[in-house]
Symmetry: C2
Subunit: 352 residues, 2 copies
DNA sequence: CTGTTAGCGCTTTCAC
DNA sequence: GTGAAAGCGCTAACAG
């Protein structure tokens, strides 16, 4: 219907913002204002531009936008202090994204904070207000933290939770796995690996007040109690993700339960569990399943101490969080499919 | 040592090609020629530019390059005709990359060819000469094909093999999984799921002359014969990836081997195997492991017919092939880590 | 063999 | 409210 311009019609390429501006009978600047939701444009103009965008099927060229943009993006990444191997992996993967960040005119500041101190984390989050345009936080699901996140969001900061969600907050996105499903996966694998003989199953968690650990336990128990009724899941013991503590706990478990058939390690500190099993000479006969493919886990998988590892790809998580931060900042679309974090299962045979 | 320019020194941003040109005392155009290995530059100039690049730590801005480039990329994707579900997934994932392709000024032409006809495939490949700058081919490992690939490569076409490699060819890259490792993974899982009772294990392949199928069998047998000696792996039967043929073959298997404990399906056509198991009422007791998470496989996993699926992520493979095609065309670096295709294991519990 | 110059499609002052 | 115009950092003619 509408009159069409030669260029929009004939040119093999896509419509540009100038095309849109011309069609809408406004200037390039005004078209840009509408596209980027900047204030101070007459409703009439807005409508005309929108209409032209739709009619010409206009999509901004991200390369041009990136090149023209002078302001650069400031993001923050909040991680637990005290360096367990998985957190170290996240840091390493971030470092590997340096060139990508430069290319996209973005910089990331890493902040460390004690995970077990909700107040500290909340304070830190609050201090980020105005310091960065988006905060990527590997958090702790606690009312104080939830509240601090909501405060940041209200202040106009984008918030993305990483690895461990704070679902009741108003964070803009969560990058990580479904931990209940991960727990169920561990249970299916463990149950089938143990086989028919009855016996007990030990569960070693870091802390059940960590949302991801609690959810994994939930999923695990759900499957064990419905599908593997010949196995008794012992109450979870908590070792604060510490190898030393875990070792003691597993020694006790082994001593007290001669029929212990398997161990599910929900959190970190697997080295301790591995050590206790080896000390008892039962590392081959007790089925042992844990999380996160660290270098140590890899070795234990290869020598048969660990039977399977449930993993979330740290590199994928970091890249996904960064891509989403960028997409939100530039209002580019995200390829949802590519951002779904998989629950990886590793046996010794399919190690990367 | 070298005298440095204000801009290179002080500016917070990165060095630009103009900086490099100035430092090397040549023009922008000459600097560009060196950077893009274009002919007709004095050795002296080349050296000076290279030195300046190194000294300033110059890295081209991909956004600027993409914007300035007028020529667009023409790529071809060669797929087997006859549409099995996995190939359909690849097509769908390519379609989902449309916007990405547009943004990168690239277009992909899909070509279908009968996989079981090496001569046809070889002819098709040869016809691509000069038609596209890179060919992404899901091929067939046969001397004729290998030869055609080498011909393309000699003619200056980039070649990337997808899903099934042609390792003796001079293709520039392979995007896909290690199929022997995938076979080993299937064996480990199957062996442990079956448990201690002795019995037979059936193997259903599409065609052992397909490299990926042959390699999976190899890996599978390797693990079965060393780690699960109480199980006897029957000779592989070949069903050409056809559900109908596979159903007949599995009916026979079930009839002839009352102690059949498990089936490993190496290729496509799992619907037939599933049907045969259900017809015999043995779908829950026979362990069934196959490849590729198609919609049908998903359903069989959920109802317990399939016990595990070994998968390669079609979306990841397509995106990875496209990114590598782009990287080769623009000589941008690739993030190797991100391009490694995982051997995914899916149980009903960790379905995406 | 080398340099000059005009864009690519946006963003962003700065004037009106 | 709106528009004109100057870049962003590279590529690609086109002259020398």
């Amino acid at each position: 219907m509408g009159r069409m311009t030669e260029k929009a019609d004939l040119a093999s390429g896509r419509a540009t913002l100038s095309d849109v501006a011309r069609e809408a009978r406004v200037s390039l600047a005004t078209a840009d204002r509408v596209l980027n939701n900047r204030a101070g444009v007459h409703a009439k103009s807005i409508a005309r531009v929108r209409e032209a965008v739709a009619r010409l099927n206009y999509r901004p060229d991200p390369a041009a936008a990136r090149l023209a943009r002078t302001r650069s993006h400031r993001w923050c990444l909040v991680l637990p202090s005290g360096g367990n191997a998985f957190v170290a992996q996240l840091q390493a993967e971030l470092a590997a994204c340096r060139a990508w960040l430069e290319d996209h005119r973005a910089s990331v500041q890493i902040l460390e904070v004690d995970v077990f101190e909700p107040q500290r984390l909340a304070d830190l989050l609050r201090s980020l207000q105005g310091q960065c345009e988006t905060a990527i936080v590997m958090g702790l699901d606690h009312p104080l933290v939830q509240n601090a996140i909501d405060g940041l969001v209200d202040g106009g900061c984008e918030v993305i939770t990483l690895v461990s969600d704070v679902p009741r907050s108003r964070r803009h996105a969560y990058v990580g796995i479904d931990n209940a499903a991960a727990g169920r996966t561990a249970a299916s694998l463990l149950g089938r690996f143990v086989g028919r003989e009855p016996g007990e199953v030990g569960v070693v968690a870091g802390s059940l007040s960590l949302r991801d650990h609690a959810e994994r336990c939930l999923g695990f128990n759900q499957v064990m109690t419905t599908e593997f009724t010949h196995l008794t899941v012992l109450p979870a013991v908590q070792g604060k993700d510490s190898p030393a503590l875990n070792e003691v706990l597993v020694r006790q478990l082994l001593a007290e339960h001669p029929r212990l058939r398997a161990i599910y390690s929900v959190g970190a500190g697997n080295a301790g569990i591995s050590a206790a099993l080896k000390a008892a000479g039962r590392e081959r006969e007790v089925v042992f399943i844990g999380h996160e493919l660290t270098p140590a886990a890899r070795a234990d998988l290869l020598d048969g101490t660990l039977d399977a590892v449930i993993n979330q790809d740290a590199g994928h998580e970091i890249r996904s969080a960064l891509r989403q931060a960028l997409a939100r900042a530039t209002r580019e679309p995200v390829h949802a499919d590519q951002e779904r974090i998989r629950i990886d299962i590793y046996l010794k045979d399919n190690l990367p």
